[in-house]
Symmetry: D3
Subunit: 191 residues, 6 copies
């Protein structure tokens, strides 16, 4: 029966998915019967903070889980933003199979789920100094080594989409700021 297995939701942006994420997935896969991986801000891409599309990050999760010996099945769920924190939890719940515990080190995610009465589980971080999205993107931009900080399949995904060059392009845009492009995340949504 569907409701009998313990399902956990691990939330992140995975820009890109790095070794720290991989180890968390491996660890959590040993604690639940099924692990959902919420790919946050799934509609964002081609910006300095969010270079990769939701689909590219879904693939990072799938390929990494495959390559890692995770005890439980791992299912990525792309989650586009809704710009209202007060409805964000119900938004996430409506797009995921039912889960009983949430894993995140993001204080706002933790806060929102706690206010909604959803249990938030504890889990370790790994080598946060080195393994952190902002720093890895910075290394990519600066031409420093980054491949050893992410799982092998992530290197494949990044290279398949020419992802370092993409990041450099959009960074140059931000740096110059001469003619801000219509529709970038900096500009916001005019719907």
């Amino acid at each position: 029966m569907a409701e009998e297995r313990e399902r956990g939701l691990f939330v992140g942006r995975f820009q890109p998915l790095h070794e720290g994420h991989r180890r968390v997935i491996e660890t959590l896969g040993g604690e639940v019967d099924e692990l959902l991986v919420g790919v946050g801000s799934a509609g964002r891409s081609h910006s300095v903070d969010d270079p990769y599309t939701g689909g590219e990050r879904v693939e990072m999760v799938l390929r990494t889980a495959e390559a890692t010996d995770v005890a439980a099945p791992v299912h990525p769920v792309p989650l586009r933003d809704v710009d209202r924190n007060a409805v964000w939890v119900s938004h996430v719940r409506s797009l995921c199979p039912e889960f009983s515990v949430v894993y995140s080190h993001n204080p706002l995610v933790v806060r929102l789920f706690r206010e909604a009465g959803v249990p938030v589980g504890a889990f370790p971080t790994y080598d946060r100094e080195r393994l952190e999205g902002t720093r890895i993107r910075r290394r990519m931009l600066d031409g420093e080594p980054w491949r050893d900080l992410v799982p092998g399949p992530v290197v494949d995904v990044v290279e398949a989409v020419d992802g370092v060059e993409r990041l450099r392009r959009v960074d140059r845009d931000d740096a110059a700021d001469v003619d801000r492009v219509p529709g970038t995340p900096d500009v916001g949504d005019d719907e």
Copy 2:
């Protein structure tokens, strides 16, 4: 390498996932290396045409694929609507890992992907007379047998959310139409 495997996308709404869908998944799983299942209108729920949430339908796909001996891995991807057909294909592409072929019997989906130059694959339908979402929802509403028309795990999901009663509730609303609820799909989004 990620780009070497043939990946197909099967698009549907799965309200609910029925035996016809299950057989298509089984068939397509024998033709591609990996099968993405796009769960359309993932943001819709609690209406006569779309009773189940995106997450409930993601679960229907996961549990059905698990219970069926599908040759290839099956990954559901919830796809919320964007109300502009002209950008729909790029919306889908941005949320899915790259795919090389699309499967759908919906003429508009076929048309949109063809205009975008994406190959659309052929596949059989199974017993369309009986296995069709509208008819199954009608049977649920009328109190006629429906369980034999959907895979066992779908019965579980529907029952776990009291899904037949939910459907009847929202149908009564539509029938009476006395005091249309704010925010129903019939009303549309006024944002």
Copy 3:
């Protein structure tokens, strides 16, 4: 202290607010310490089903509550639609002061609040045959008497905005359907 008083939420569209609504407000005002009146589909106006703006309907509630001897304070809250039933309850909750009971005869509203664990209170309807929004709008369109079916202040609001003529205009549009206007509720939002 804020949290000590019992607050109820009565949800409707009030197109227009009629005598039946007025009596419900009067009745509920005797049962709670404070009555919130959720003005649904507040962003809709100038259509056959939703002729009056959210603001015009907020005024109908204010003026009617003022003219009626309601035991408890009455506070209207305009609620624009969100076209996702699964997040609607949290949307409403985020825009209203905390309430402990909901009043509605709409089956979907009842269903959504029940699924969210919010108590739904019982209350009588009054002369539903005559007092029903669709019928009152029909009478306005057909030039039949309607003023005795709504509270006096509602007559004032409708007349101040030339509201019967407005309704006839938009109805003619629907009837002819010759050149559907861009952006009508029938067309939906293409953002």
Copy 4:
């Protein structure tokens, strides 16, 4: 000086632009110094009621104005829908150069501009029996002659996008309604 010339706005959907529209443009071009042509529901396409994209219809306007001896310059402005009639006029105004008169036979457009205090100009219709979007699309669907009902450049645009076949495709979808596509205008936007 910019503000000295009289500018008029003619609003339509142009699905497709037909001979009646062309004659109105020709007539109005003799009455104002500059004619804006608002292309309504510009974000809609690939549906039975709205088969052509905003850009395709912008091109119909440009090519038709070019081929017609219009006295004043003609400038198309694509106008995506906003699903709130109460803000529609300010939406249109913010996207168009300032105009002093509006032309439309649509009662709701007329009503909204009048409530906003914008003058609405009179103009003749031409052979409405034959020249009406719904009927022309019907003829396209039924394989009856339609080319003589639209200006020559519109025939070119429709054929360049295989526009009759596109219309038939989406119609078949509506007719069958077997597996409603995610994201069609019929489904609405769930963002």
Copy 5:
């Protein structure tokens, strides 16, 4: 008659409502027959700049007006953002009962209403040095006294929702910025 009374609209965000706001409400209540209080950015919450939900702020207005001896009735109206300044005035107008004067010290609000021809009224500020939202939130974050800067009922509302802790949580998130949460106001809406 509805149109005979002078109604004013006071616009603010009230994050949180402070003593300065309270005195303005008191003052304006002596100048108009009815005072609407527009609660701006009503959809925002759980961020450093906008910690409290629209509903919590509606309650701050209601309770404060109740506790203050305001000469005129005070009615809060939650106003969610529309990200287009050019339609913002008509958005506000469509959600509020008709008003004849606007009160705001925000230069953009003043500008937008003036461009729309709505009179903007003068009113004093009170002790702006101390009574300013940003500073009060800063004091909450820094553990400095803040209760004497807001009306008593606002203290109640903040404490009922554990509002200082909520603010600290989301601030920590901003400070660390390690794993930006999906859907925060900093991220924007990707619809």
Copy 6:
């Protein structure tokens, strides 16, 4: 025939259109048969970065093209933002007549069109030191001369809308930041 002429799209925000833009339009008009000018972020206005409405900027393009001896017809197309870079190209394509080449010096625009397989054309910039939107707005704010940096018709448009004063108003708002207005572009859209 429509498809025979070479059509180019020049993308910019034109806040305001300056001499550098004018020269690019003049140059490109000599290279294509028809020049589309995409007016980006067309829904933005009344902010420091985007002071002028889409319509005001459409008018800048029309009047400047008229006053310049451009070899090819010039057609402005207002393009509102969609806050998803991954669908931006298909959004632009759906609102413009078909074009075969794009002109932009913005690295992200270039990147997005290249990923979509659309040719991006080369063109010179002119005196970028002086001719740059940010600097011209800065001069307007600082009361320094700016009229010689923009075409004469742009001076007319700016003055007709009291555009320097508008810019100063919204800047004061940003500087002070005391009471951020609901719904400014800085705040984002909470729909």
